[in-house]
Assembly symmetry: C2
Homo-oligomer: 116 residues x 2
DNA sequence: GAAATATGTCGTAAATATACGACATAATAT
DNA sequence: ATATTATGTCGTATATTTACGACATATTTC
C-alpha cells in the first residue's frame, strides 16, 4: 500500500509538480530549447542533436506530448514537433505566481539562518 | 551501463532540471508554500500539516535542503526551517529566462498544429 | 511490389524516487 | 537520572524513471 499519496494534495500543487516533473530531466529541457531555437518545427531528428538513442528521445517526446507542452503532426514520413507556446505561457505564469509567493516573505538571508 | 547520461548535457540544462526535479512532487511544493505562508520559520511539525508520515516529510525536507532552497537551524529541541528567498529569486529568473526563450517563437497555435 | 526511411511501441534491465516503520540521538522537562 | 519530545538516519518494499535494442507500422521511392 506504499506510494502514490499524490492525490491528497491540492490540484494546484499537483499541476505545478506535474509540469516541474516534465522539466526535471536535462534531455527534456534540451528538447524544448531545441524546438524553440528552430523556426521550423523539426521532426524526430531531434535525436541526432542529443546524446541519447532515438528510442529514448522518443520516450521523452511522448512525456512532453502527454502534458501537451509540445505537439506532433505527422507529415508524410516525418513527424513535425513544435512547442505549444500558449500553454507554455500559462505555465510560466503559474511558476511566476509560485515563486513570487515563495519570495515575498523576508525569511532568512543568504548566509545567516532564521530567527524563530 | 544503462542510465545517467545526464553529464552529457550543459550545466545550464542540468541546473534547471535539478531545480525542476525539486519541485516535481506536490509534497515539496506544499512545503515551500507552507514555509512561505508562515512569518515565523516553522519546525518539522510541517509534517502535521501534510498527509504524509513524519519520516517521509523529513526526506522531502532533506531534498530541498540539499539544493539549498531551504535552510534549517537547530533551535534547542526543534529545527527551524526557512526559505532561502535569495536563491529562490535566482531560480525564478532562471525559469523566466527559459520560458521566455521557449515562448518567443510563434510556433504552432493552441489548437492547430505546425506547418513545416 | 520491394527496399529504404522515419517513427512509435514493447520488453526489459538498472537506477531513482516514494513511503514508512524501527532505531539512534540530542535536548528539555520532571 | 529518567522520561519525554523533536529530529534525523537506516533499512526496505514498491513504484517510477531512464535507457536502449528488437519489432511493428506506415510512407516514400525505385
Amino acid at each position: 500500500m506504499t506510494y502514490a499519496k499524490i492525490a491528497a494534495f491540492t490540484e494546484e500543487q499537483q499541476q505545478l509538480a506535474r509540469v516541474a516533473k516534465a522539466l526535471a530531466h536535462p534531455a527534456r529541457v534540451a528538447i524544448i530549447q531545441f524546438l524553440a531555437s528552430k523556426q521550423t518545427c523539426i521532426s524526430g531528428d531531434i535525436a541526432a542533436e542529443l546524446p541519447l538513442s532515438r528510442t529514448t528521445v522518443s520516450q521523452h517526446l511522448q512525456e512532453l506530448k502527454a502534458l501537451d507542452l509540445i505537439r506532433g503532426e505527422i507529415d508524410g514520413l516525418t513527424v513535425c514537433y513544435c512547442l505549444n507556446t500558449e500553454l507554455l505561457k500559462q505555465v510560466h505564469q503559474q511558476f511566476t505566481g509560485f515563486f513570487l509567493e515563495a519570495t515575498a516573505s523576508p525569511a532568512c538571508g543568504p548566509a545567516d539562518a532564521c530567527a524563530c
